[in-house]
């Protein structure tokens, strides 16, 4: 059995062993690298065609050195953090190795077992040359609206081949020139060709922007000094995380979580995670996971690793932009053939959902002994819904989709807010007025759900009801997890309201459809997404009376809720 265990040490160690660079240059190079990634992000967002990229920020834009160590990544989708090294490695292999790379090349790569994502997350990888030497890569992995899977979005695939077209690492640009045959394949293999054409263009602008910015930095300091500074930057990053870990006593911490089902079969999928803190380092042991599933909830290794990186960086990173050094104290243990280390061709379209759950459970494990270090459970999901159809008047295809805000868990520091899941912490969801302009929709409400928060000394954030009426016939795929396991409280805090999603027909009949593919929604029917609340922190009896009364005045909670959770608080009227 043990030969199936896979130990992944996250951050690659020092390469230049002895450096002689001053701390000032180091800091300037670090800032310039972050600025370069930021420039990539801005260029991408401003030229992208799909709202998934420019509003939802469902992408990663990053710069890696030749040894695939992360130099910088722009603030975007945390869940993609540090997955691109796997992706670049495979992309380069795909074109036959480093010796086949030339200046001006851009490789397209989206094989799920190399990106860690579903095929829609397509990466463009650009090698960066300095004075004819390969020194680095700029890469952007971004979500395309459609890449010709069995549906634009699926919860019921049974192998990876149903999930979309695979580009196994081929040159989309060769020495700066577009490879037209490949480009034609990209455009032919999508239901929304204009959108994909625009996004390819945007990603290419993005990686080139990064290439130019990086070259400027290297030119300024010379390659040797630049490389020395990079080693120092990583060491400093490593120190930030180790300083945080120092504060947590050595020990093993356990947490368990659960997925509702695997998308094609009934039945919960419980899983356990062990977190081991030892001498300023952390091991995330996921090896006790259930076997890989017949439905698409399998999380390929790169995303499992990324989960650990995100969870740690958000806790320990002093709100800094991470780099390779941050990852060095982190080790991930998985077992091949399981939920968190599936083997091809297991379906993995919904890879992100187990990743989200793993993050929550990681915090749950630490919280079991150190509740002040982490928040209670959030609503636990992004409750994604993807819609598509053909416009009645023009016949043009359209597609749109969004993650949604949920209640965040209460914590030692205060009540939970209402935001998107922490794995998508920079993401914005679109305004109603933008949606109604793009899509045949009437949005009936976007409102906080009374009593959805977990009670506690610090209560959870409220959930959100979002209801959309379809003005034309539409198809939708829904992915709402954690509809059965309510957001847990922490340190005697209470549970919040769980997620759900409903289809309401024009006669008002309501049907629960939390995970469903290609649901036909007739004109006049509605989709109601119930985005859950956050768990509470601390005993409700510790909550200040005036806060309970104010929550009541603002109609965050009802009279009945107070009776149940804060019975000692009496209402006058």
């Amino acid at each position: 059995m043990s030969e199936d265990l896979h130990h992944y040490k996250c951050g690659i160690d020092r390469i230049v062993k002895k450096t002689n660079v001053d701390p000032i240059t180091t800091q300037i190079v670090r800032n310039s690298l972050n600025s370069a990634a930021e420039q990539m992000k801005r260029a991408l967002c401003r030229t992208a065609m799909s709202p998934i990229i420019y509003e939802v920020l469902d992408f990663a834009a990053a710069i890696y050195d030749r040894d695939l160590r992360m130099l910088s990544q722009a603030p975007s989708l945390p869940l993609f953090m540090g997955t691109l090294n796997f992706c670049i490695e495979e992309a380069v292999k795909g074109v036959g190795g480093e010796e086949n790379l030339e200046e001006g090349d851009i490789i397209i790569y989206n094989s799920p077992y190399g990106t860690g994502s579903h095929p829609q997350d397509a990466a463009l990888v650009m090698p960066v040359f300095f004075e004819n030497e390969l020194i680095a890569y700029t890469a952007i992995k971004a979500h395309w609206l459609d890449i010709a899977g069995k549906e634009p979005y699926s919860t019921d695939t049974v192998d990876v081949f149903q999930e979309g077209t695979v580009y196994p690492g081929v040159k989309l640009y060769s020495k700066g020139n577009l490879v037209k045959d490949i480009y034609k394949m990209c455009i032919a293999n999508t239901r929304v060709p204009n959108s994909v054409a625009g996004d390819i263009n945007a990603q290419a602008i993005g990686v080139r922007t990064g290439e130019r910015a990086l070259k400027r930095v290297v030119a300024k300091y010379g390659l040797n000094k630049f490389r020395e500074a990079v080693e120092e930057i990583f060491d400093a990053g490593e120190k930030i995380v180790r300083n945080y870990l120092k504060e947590i006593p050595n020990g093993e911490y356990f947490g368990s979580g659960q997925l509702d089902n695997n998308g094609v079969e009934e039945g919960n999928i419980p899983f356990d995670v062990k977190v081991i803190i030892k001498d300023e380092s952390v091991v995330l042991d996921m090896s006790d996971a259930p076997p890989q599933q017949n439905g698409p909830v399998n999380c390929p290794l790169p995303s499992t690793v990324s989960t650990a990186r995100v969870a740690m960086s958000m806790l320990a990173g002093s709100n800094e932009a991470p780099n390779e050094g941050f990852f060095r104290p982190i080790e991930v243990i998985t077992k091949k053939g399981t939920l968190f280390h599936p083997l091809s061709p297991a379906p993995c379209f919904l890879y992100g959902w187990p990743a989200l759950q793993a993050m929550e459970v990681f915090y749950r494990a630490l919280g079991s002994k150190h509740p002040e270090k982490v928040p209670a459970s959030s609503g636990g999901c992004i409750n994604a819904v993807v819609y598509w159809g053909q416009r009645e008047d023009t016949g043009e295809p359209w597609a749109d989709g969004s993650p949604h805000p949920i209640g965040q868990g209460g914590s030692f520091y205060g009540d939970g807010a209402t935001c998107l899941h922490h794995a998508e912490s920079a993401t914005r969801f679109a305004p109603t007025e933008v949606w109604e302009n793009r899509n045949p929709w009437l949005v009936n409400r976007v409102e906080l759900i009374q009593d959805s928060c977990g009670a506690g000394e610090h209560r959870g954030g409220l959930g959100v009801n979002l209801e959309i009426e379809m003005l034309e016939d539409t198809f939708a795929t829904t992915v709402c997890e954690r509809t059965e396991l309510s957001p847990w409280g922490l340190n005697k805090g209470k549970e919040g309201l769980a997620n759900n999603c409903f289809l309401i027909n024009d006669e008002g009949e309501k049907k629960s459809i939390p995970k469903a593919t290609r649901v036909s929604i007739k004109k006049g029917s509605k989709v109601l997404i119930q985005n859950g609340g956050g768990g509470g922190y601390g005993s409700p009896s510790e909550r200040k009376k005036e806060k309970v009364l104010d929550d009541y005045k603002q109609q965050y909670i009802s009279r009945e809720y107070i009776k149940e959770y804060y019975p000692e608080v009496k209402l006058n009227d």
């Binding site: 490593e238 912490s425 914005r428 109603t432």
Partner: protein
């Protein structure tokens, strides 16, 4: 050439500038800001520079104020009630679901400006195309009005979904609220902004309601007091989106003044550029706490159409000034990874840099510069004598922890700050497709001329311009602010001849609205109409704003093809590529510009000069990485061109000129500093 006063209230100082037409003289002054009653410092500084006789000759009073901003920062505004479409009362609370600090698990948004119980819903609805879905119910408005009056609400914000496409219901609600006896302020989202995105428009409207009473009181008080002093001219206040507006208009649209702070400098830079044949420049405005930079193209600062303040979006024109927390007072420290950093924390006016001897012990950028010799002997015009030992102690307090000498720490602080400033400039230039090397660097603010040489070096910019009275340049910029009104309407149209006609109908209405809004009661020379279009490739969300410079008549006369060509070329310039799909117009923008009488570009300056006993000083040269002998030169004595290294003194700023640079004065008294190696 009319005489005018500019008074700009900053966080630390209230700056005063007077241009007197009679003798072509310019007077500058500075007084500590009085945050509790900001008009006190304004009146005081006006009084001490003008008598009741001389003030009569002044035609314009131009004002930059932070009253609206402070109301927001301190959350001291009106009790606001909000009326909204059923299902949408939580728009301002749910926001867009993102976090200001993405890696902070525990982040919390600030409290909404209107508590939930004062946000009432109405059963009414418009479609996105402006058609009515559900008609307004008057009874509900009556009930809401009664509730608000009982609750003592003093402002009501009316924010309905899709009101930008059809404001019939909002207009009707305003009338009904008055009929039902509400006497306070009413803000309609459709009057505040004609653009879509309900979170942004609603928040802006709520801000308007929140600051209106306070702003109105303030402007009225100030007006009364200035009149008491004998002022008989016109009252103008600067806008966040450049230009100025009358006090009367500002009372109705206070949200347009929220971010006027860094605007005056950008405005002055625009004016300077226009005097120099519209040269393209980027500004480096370095004050005590922040570095502000703005790109000046074709003689104007760049305008964005949404800004952000204290985490809240403001859907209104906004001069695109990018700020980072790096100024003369920025404090250097070691981060968790033991790397040296500078800012954003600042020593402020109190205690100020360690070398000011006012109790500061942490090293600031000023301490570092002084220690290296860049501030000369450190005799400030105010009479303050800087203390070198205190600067050294402060530098050691940080440097010794990472084995750096005070000297190396000081070098490091300046290098890090200037590199951060250069990165900010790269971001604003490169994202617009502009290469910073093609620009000139205009440096001003108390520490701008000091840092300018280092910033230019980082960016390979050949020429630096230091304007006269560079430390007070922002107030000078205030004096040139044209009257400006802007408005916009979101209407998504595919570009063709028919849609151009539709744009023209919208423009006609927009210009009419603007003229009604102006409230000008003085004689004006001319009114310039300006048009621009927000455009994109169909499917994109982000737009680029295409200025139609050749359209002077208030309507579009260009053909579909012309506009298409302009858009494609602008897009290619910005992003280096183009697409082949349908082009959309998203918003139509109109502005009215009323130029004030031109002021002189050069006047006789009345200023105190800072003293120097020496002719030269030992100072660190970043160019040679060694100590060199720098000449000390009084700015007003400069006549002939000369070469660095040198330290140039004037009353409000110090300019550092390294080796391999030359300095000359142009015919408008600007210092032109040129890199001889480029």
């Amino acid at each position: 050439m009319a005489s005018r006063i500019g008074v700009d209230i900053g966080g630390t100082f209230t700056d005063f500038i007077l241009y007197n037409e009679k003798d072509n003289s310019i007077t500058i002054d500075k007084i500590p800001t009085t945050p509790e009653e900001p008009q006190k410092a304004v009146i005081e500084v006006v009084k001490r520079n003008l008598s009741s006789e001389t003030i009569k000759d002044i035609e314009f009073f131009l004002h930059g104020t932070t009253v609206g901003l402070n109301a927001l920062l301190e959350r001291k505004g009106s009790k606001v009630g909000m009326l909204c479409t059923k299902g949408f009362r939580d728009v301002i609370e749910i926001r867009r679901g993102d976090r200001d600090e993405m890696y902070n698990l525990f982040w919390q948004p600030s409290e909404p400006l209107v508590p939930r119980y004062l946000r009432l819903e109405l059963n009414e609805r418009m479609f996105a195309n402006g058609n009515i879905h559900t008609t307004l119910n008057e009874e509900e408005v009556k009930k809401a009005c009664k509730f608000f009056i009982e609750e003592g609400v003093s402002s009501i914000a009316v924010c309905l979904i899709n009101a930008y496409a059809n404001n019939e219901h909002e207009k009707k609600i305003e009338k009904l609220l008055r009929d039902f006896g509400f006497k306070g302020y009413i803000s309609l989202s459709s009057v505040v902004s004609g653009e879509y995105r309900e979170y942004e428009r609603t928040t802006t409207t709520v801000i308007d309601s929140f600051v209106k009473a306070r702003m109105s009181n303030y402007l009225n008080n100030l007006r009364d007091e200035l009149k008491k002093l004998g002022f008989e001219g016109n009252f103008l206040v600067t806008r966040s989106g450049s230009g100025s507006m009358t006090f009367d208009e500002a009372e109705e649209r206070p949200f347009e003044t929220i971010m006027s702070g860094p605007v005056a400098g950008a405005e002055g830079a625009g004016e300077l550029s226009r005097q120099k044949n519209n040269i393209n420049m980027v500004t480096a405005d370095v004050g005590g706490t922040s570095f502000d930079t703005c790109l000046i193209l074709d003689g104007r600062p760049q305008i964005q159409f949404e800004g952000k303040i204290v985490g809240l979006p403001v859907q209104s024109p906004w001069v695109d000034v990018r700020s980072i927390g790096a100024g003369g007072g920025s404090i250097a420290y070691l981060d968790d990874g033991n790397l040296l950093r500078s800012g954003p924390r600042s020593s402020g006016a109190q205690p100020g840099p360690a070398c000011y001897s006012r109790g500061g012990t942490e090293p600031t950028t000023t301490d570092a510069a002084f220690y290296l010799g860049m501030l000369g002997e450190g005799n400030l015009a105010s009479g303050l004598k800087l203390n070198r030992d205190l600067a050294e102690n402060a530098l050691n307090s940080v440097g010794s922890k990472i084995n750096l000498s005070a000297f190396d720490t000081a070098k490091g602080i300046l290098k890090i700050s200037s590199a951060n400033m250069a990165d900010a400039i790269r971001e604003i230039t490169i994202e617009q497709g502009i290469d910073p090397r093609e620009l000139k660097l205009l440096a001003f603010g108390g520490a701008g001329p000091l840092m300018s040489n280092l910033i230019a070096k980082e960016l390979d910019i050949k020429e630096i311009i230091i304007p006269p009275f560079s430390g007070n340049f922002s107030a000078w910029g205030l004096l040139g602010a044209d009257l400006l009104q802007m408005t916009a309407q979101t209407k998504i149209l595919r570009l063709n001849e028919k849609s151009i006609n539709e744009c023209n109908q919208i423009l006609e209405r927009l210009f009419k609205d603007l003229q009604e809004r102006q409230k000008i009661n003085f004689e004006i020379l001319e009114t310039i109409k300006e048009i621009s279009l927000d455009m994109r490739w169909m499917g994109q969300e982000h737009t680029i704003t295409l200025k139609l410079n050749n359209e002077k008549l208030g309507k579009i006369t260009s053909s579909e093809d012309d506009i298409k060509k302009m858009f494609v070329s602008e897009y290619e310039k910005t992003f280096g590529s183009k697409l082949d799909t349908i082009i959309e117009i998203v918003s139509i923008r109109a502005s009215l510009r009323v130029p004030l009488p031109r002021k002189t570009s050069r006047g006789l300056i009345n200023e105190e000069l800072s003293g120097s006993d020496q002719e030269s000083i030992k100072c660190y040269s970043f160019d040679s990485d060694s100590i060199e002998e720098f000449k000390i030169i009084q700015r007003n004595k400069i006549e002939e061109e000369f070469s660095g290294p040198a330290i140039i003194l004037e009353s409000t700023a110090v300019t550092y000129v390294d080796k391999n640079y030359t300095v000359k004065k142009d015919n408008s008294d600007h210092l032109i500093i040129t890199d001889t190696k480029i």
